[in-house]
């Protein structure tokens, strides 16, 4: 009897929570789904076609796409380097205190989303792609650092020990025994993160951090709907291409 009741109580609690949530939204649902706003929406969407296709504009979209790609690449690269640097203490190599401190730092970096970092970076580095790169690098360092630390903790210790016993220094032992062992995992984590970061890099611009997002924000704010459509299309295509490429690389590496 009790067993049968528990799921019911759970479902009732979930529904009550949902009802409280709906009640507290000021959202004008009737307004959102009204015929008037549907008509406005339809008009808005109809403006999307045809997308802007002038040569000069397409060139700008192309260079913004490259900028987004570059932000994601450089951001991920710095995150991989920074992540490895923080993963060493986080894997407990230099004792308990550095381990706790570096884990705390990694958690903080990771907890704050890229876009919030970007809004902060714009204050420090000014508008433009450099702020976006910094934001991606900082957040992704937190993510990769934790994953790298786990990889380092799980590495079999025998090769390192054998090098150390034969007189290799700690640094040499790391580069020739530990690093090659974890490298495939590190690379595949970084590639996976790159796929996520290209999406992030595409939208970071809405707070002024460069790339396609900045163009999107600009044209959408001025209600240049056709230009918006082209930028959106470029985003979808870019993300699709990177997904395909990264998938290829990963299957080739694991095969």
């Amino acid at each position: 009897m009790m067993l049968a009741l528990r799921p019911l109580i759970g479902a009732a609690a979930a529904l009550a929570f949902l009802a409280a949530c709906i009640a507290s939204l000021s959202g004008d649902w009737a307004g959102f789904f009204s015929r008037e706003s549907a008509a406005r929406m339809l008009e808005f969407v109809r403006g999307f076609w045809p997308p802007a296709m002038e040569g000069a504009f397409l060139l700008k979209v192309g260079s913004a796409s490259l900028e987004t790609l570059a932000i994601s690449l450089v951001g991920t690269l710095f995150a991989a380097v920074g992540g490895l640097a923080l993963a060493l203490p986080a894997a407990g190599r230099w004792g308990a205190l550095p381990r706790t401190l570096s884990r705390l730092l990694l958690n903080c970096l990771r907890a704050i989303p890229e876009l919030v970092w970007a809004a902060l970076a714009v204050i420090a580095a000014g508008l433009g792609p450099f702020a976006g790169t910094l934001a991606l690098a900082v957040h992704t360092t937190g993510v990769l650092g934790r994953l790298f630390a786990e990889a380092l903790e799980n590495v079999p210790p025998e090769p390192v020990e054998s090098l150390r016993r034969n007189g290799a220094g700690a640094v040499a032992a790391f580069w020739y025994a530990t690093f090659p062992q974890v490298l495939p995992q590190l690379t595949s984590y970084s590639l996976y993160r790159w796929e996520i970061n290209i999406r992030a890099a595409a939208i970071l611009g809405v707070v002024g951090a460069g790339g396609l997002g900045q163009m999107l924000h600009f044209h959408l704010s001025l209600f240049h709907v056709q230009e918006t459509a082209s930028v959106l299309a470029a985003m979808v295509v870019l993300v699709g291409l990177v997904d395909a490429l990264s998938n290829r690389l990963r299957t080739r590496m694991t095969a």
Binding site: L18, P113, A119
Partner: protein
């Protein structure tokens, strides 16, 4: 020359590969650095240093007036509400689509080993719809809705509903197809309708996994709804954006702390619920 002059035992056996990798890296990344206007010196430029310092100085102490805390609490609850209602909407979008697209419930496949052409076309079309929904990030949907129908919570809810609907749909299909399909097949073979086969054959098998993934997505939606606030879709993010624009560091710090706490709580709740389901 230098390398080959070393005794053989000290030469790096892998230097060839390392050098090639390094060259490829530099060639690929050079232009990327140029494009990102990578220049750490700007961080130490006088103007930006002054702005950063002014902003940082206001960080401590975090804003803690009762009035402001009440405002933050309200914004936080709104963020949770947007995420929850948005995820529910996503579920309502994803579930019927996943049901239509899953191969487990194909009657023609069961009878002939191949899906009937019309059914195959419908299933593929639904999958494309799901891809379309999720290929535009939720923050872009939010921007579009804010522009088209005005500021506010509803834009955030519908944005989460659309993008997460696409994501949930994809995973729902995978879950429905990866579970034990024999009960459903047996039911279909014995003349049960598709819905009957679903309720009695598929649903009981996949329910825990479906719920657990949906709860995980709810957790992601909370983060997403904070971020969407930056483009005007309500909640904690919108407050944060306002405070950043005014360079009110103390308020930003308070909200960052609240945000980190909120994500932590959502994480704990989600883990607890999923454990209870397993």
């Amino acid at each position: 020359m230098h390398l080959s002059a070393k005794p053989h035992a000290l030469r790096d056996p892998a230097w060839h590969g390392r050098l090639t990798a390094a060259v490829i890296f530099v060639v690929l990344l050079g232009p990327a650095f140029y494009l990102t206007e990578f220049n750490p010196a700007t961080l130490w430029g006088e103007a930006s240093l002054r702005a950063t310092r002014r902003f940082m100085e206001t960080f401590v102490p975090p804003a803690h007036s009762l009035e402001f805390l009440a405002l933050v609490a309200q914004a936080t609850w709104k963020t949770v509400a947007i995420a929850t209602v948005g995820t529910t909407l996503a579920m309502l979008i994803a579930f019927p689509l996943a049901l239509a697209a899953t191969r487990t419930l194909s009657v023609s496949q069961l009878a002939t080993g191949r899906m009937a052409p019309v059914a195959a076309i419908i299933r593929t079309a639904v999958r494309w719809v799901l891809i379309g929904l999720r290929s535009v990030p939720e923050i872009v949907w939010a921007m579009l809705f804010v522009r088209a129908v005005g500021l506010g919570d509803t834009a955030g809810v519908v944005a989460i509903g659309i993008t997460y609907g696409g994501m949930l749909g994809k995973i729902y299909i995978e879950i429905l197809e990866s579970g034990d399909t024999r009960p459903a097949q047996a039911l279909l073979e014995n003349g049960a309708g598709r819905l009957q086969a679903f309720w009695y054959g598929v649903w009981p098998v996949s329910l825990p996994e479906l719920t657990s993934y949906t709860i995980y997505r709810w957790e992601c939606a909370i983060r997403a709804s904070v971020v969407m606030g930056f483009v005007g879709a309500g909640g904690l993010g919108q407050q944060m954006e306002l405070s950043m624009k005014m360079l009110a560091g103390g308020e930003v710090l308070t909200m960052l702390l609240v945000f980190v706490g909120l994500v932590w709580i959502a994480d704990q709740v989600s883990a607890m619920l999923r454990k209870a389901l397993a």
